[in-house]
């Protein structure tokens, strides 16, 4: 039982990382109608930025905060100067553009910092705490808590502020938003910037565990995309729940299903996806009508 709870909590923590990335993908999709395959790559670049700063003697927490600022700018710049001409055009072309961006970012990181694994310092101590007789890693709890707080803050921004209202309005109907005087282009940049920030938070939290490489989040991207499909592109809550389910299930499967083991646990979300696709093609929480026409 102790192992089980430990596995669930660790799963929740990796699931939170997938959730942050998945939420970033949903955010970008609702604002600009495309799937950003470079979402993980941008987060890796932010993690490298933070890592580089810590090597220059900047305290870790400051380095991460600076990398978050860097991410916001990166997201905004990518939207304005790379993606804008492909938005609301053919979504498949736009996807290829984001794949080009992923390749470019991976290439830049590999060129600047090599493809070798780099140690990224952890924000949390590597100890465990005992809780009701179960020992749980502080890092797992910390990761989960930070990401949940980030998501709550984002939700508060969207629901409770004028900027959030404007971002939602632009996502729903850019033309009417412009007719009301909303600077659509700048708001799209903000949307991409916020998505990149979410990714950067996830990247900084998971980097100590995975060690930093240019392809560090390739697998996480795949999990995040699975969560996006399972949760439904229009349902942020559904996506987060799906990501947690994936995180927990793969952790349990790795230990309790001998054939899967740790090396094949990445197949878990896709087995799940297969089952769900056959039973509920609109995803667990999505609405039937929103599949692209």
């Amino acid at each position: 039982m102790g192992t089980f709870i430990q596995l669930v909590i660790d799963g929740l923590s990796t699931g939170s990382v997938y959730a942050a990335l998945a939420l970033a993908i949903v955010l970008v999709h609702s604002a600009t109608g495309l799937i950003n395959f470079a979402q993980g790559g941008m987060a890796v670049l932010a993690a490298y930025f933070a890592w580089y700063l810590t090597n220059q003697g900047v305290p870790l927490i400051v380095a991460i905060l600076l990398s978050i600022v860097f991410s916001f700018a990166l997201g905004a710049v990518v939207e304005r100067w790379l993606m804008r001409r492909f938005e609301r055009g053919d979504p498949d072309t736009a996807v290829v553009v984001t794949i080009g961006l992923l390749t470019l970012i991976t290439g830049i990181a590999g060129w600047l910092w090599t493809y070798n694994n780099q140690q990224f310092p952890s924000l949390f101590p590597l100890d465990t705490v005992s809780f009701l007789g179960v020992s749980v890693s502080i890092r797992s709890i910390g990761t989960t808590v930070v990401i949940v707080v980030a998501m709550v803050l984002l939700q508060a921004l969207f629901v409770g502020t004028k900027l959030g209202l404007a971002l939602r309005a632009v996502a729903i109907n850019p033309q009417s938003a412009a007719f009301s005087g909303l600077p659509v282009g700048r708001l799209l940049m903000v949307g991409w910037g916020l998505a990149a920030v979410l990714g950067a938070v996830a990247g900084a939290l998971v980097a100590p565990q995975l060690t930093l490489t240019p392809g560090m989040l390739d697998n996480a991207l795949v999990y995040a995309l699975a969560a996006v499909i399972l949760g439904g592109l229009t349902s942020p809550v559904g996506v987060v729940v799906a990501a947690w389910i994936i995180g927990i299930l793969e952790n349990l499967a790795a230990v309790y299903v001998p054939f899967i083991g740790h090396d094949l646990k990445i197949a878990v979300p896709f087995i799940l996806l297969f089952v769900v696709l056959i039973v509920r093609p609109q995803g667990l929480f999505g609405r039937k009508t929103v599949v692209r026409v």
């Binding site: 209202l165 309005a169 729903i172 033309q175 009417s176 938003a177 412009a178 007719f179 009301s180 005087g181």
Partner: protein, 236 residues
């Protein structure tokens, strides 16, 4: 005093030219109509003003050339566009729609007052204030679209086919409210309308477009007296 003036305006979507040369003017506090068959360029004329189509010619607002601005910059000058198909924000509540309309303003108290004014103007919206716009009826959505536009305190309202798809009694309600708005606020209006009978209850003058050009311009009284207008637009 002329508020909006179009001189020989052309417009095209890609290679397809839709406006061949449209001229009109709307005086301050005035209301002017654009009539014409489907595809004559009525909607495109409004889009030319709000900068959502590529244009040529001269468009001046308050004496300043506004061609080349972005749509949100045009809106910031005080031109509010109620587009064809209403363009409300489906996933936002009625109140949120109105707040988006007031995006350019920062006077909290004034915004709240104007929301109350809108609800007074369109009492139907009062009871739906918390509902999502997508849950409203067609008539209510049209009312919301007009209300959202006036939340920005515009000097000129561009109104595109406000009666489209509405039952005659609903269309009349919408126009009654807009007439009241005009008399109380003095907002100038440029009105595109298929239903000329309805348009003539609101506008002082109008122009008739055919294949992207003006063919006839006059005051409401003059136009109502013309046989061809009666035959083509007033049902006999």
């Amino acid at each position: 005093m002329t508020l909006l003036e179009l001189e020989d305006v052309t417009a095209s979507y890609g290679p397809v030219q839709v406006l061949e040369g449209v001229s009109l003017s709307v005086p301050e506090n005035g209301a002017f109509g654009i009539l014409g068959a489907n595809g004559a360029g009525k909607t495109t004329t409004l889009r030319a003003i709000s900068a959502t189509v590529r244009t040529g010619g001269r468009i001046t607002f308050d004496g300043k050339d506004i061609r080349g601005l972005r749509p949100d910059q045009v809106a910031a000058l005080g031109i509010a566009h109620v587009p064809e198909g209403r363009g409300t924000f489906g996933d936002l509540s009625v109140r949120e729609n109105l707040r988006v309309g007031a995006y350019l303003r920062n006077d909290r108290k004034g915004i709240d007052e104007d929301i109350d004014y809108c609800l007074d103007l369109f009492p139907n919206l009062q009871e739906r204030i918390g509902s999502n716009a997508s849950a409203l009826s067609g008539g209510e959505q049209q009312m919301l679209a007009v209300a959202r536009a006036i939340m920005s305190k515009p000097r000129l309202l561009l109104l595109d086919e406000a009666s489209l798809g509405l039952a005659p009694s609903t269309a009349k309600n919408v126009y009654d409210a807009i007439r009241r708005l005009r008399s109380e606020s003095g907002i100038a209006m440029l009105v595109v309308e298929q239903n000329a009978n309805l348009a003539f209850t609101l506008v002082d003058g109008a122009t008739v477009l055919e294949t992207g050009r003006n063919v006839l311009t006059g005051t409401t009284a003059e136009l109502k007296g013309m046989d061809e207008i009666r035959r083509a637009y007033l049902g006999g």
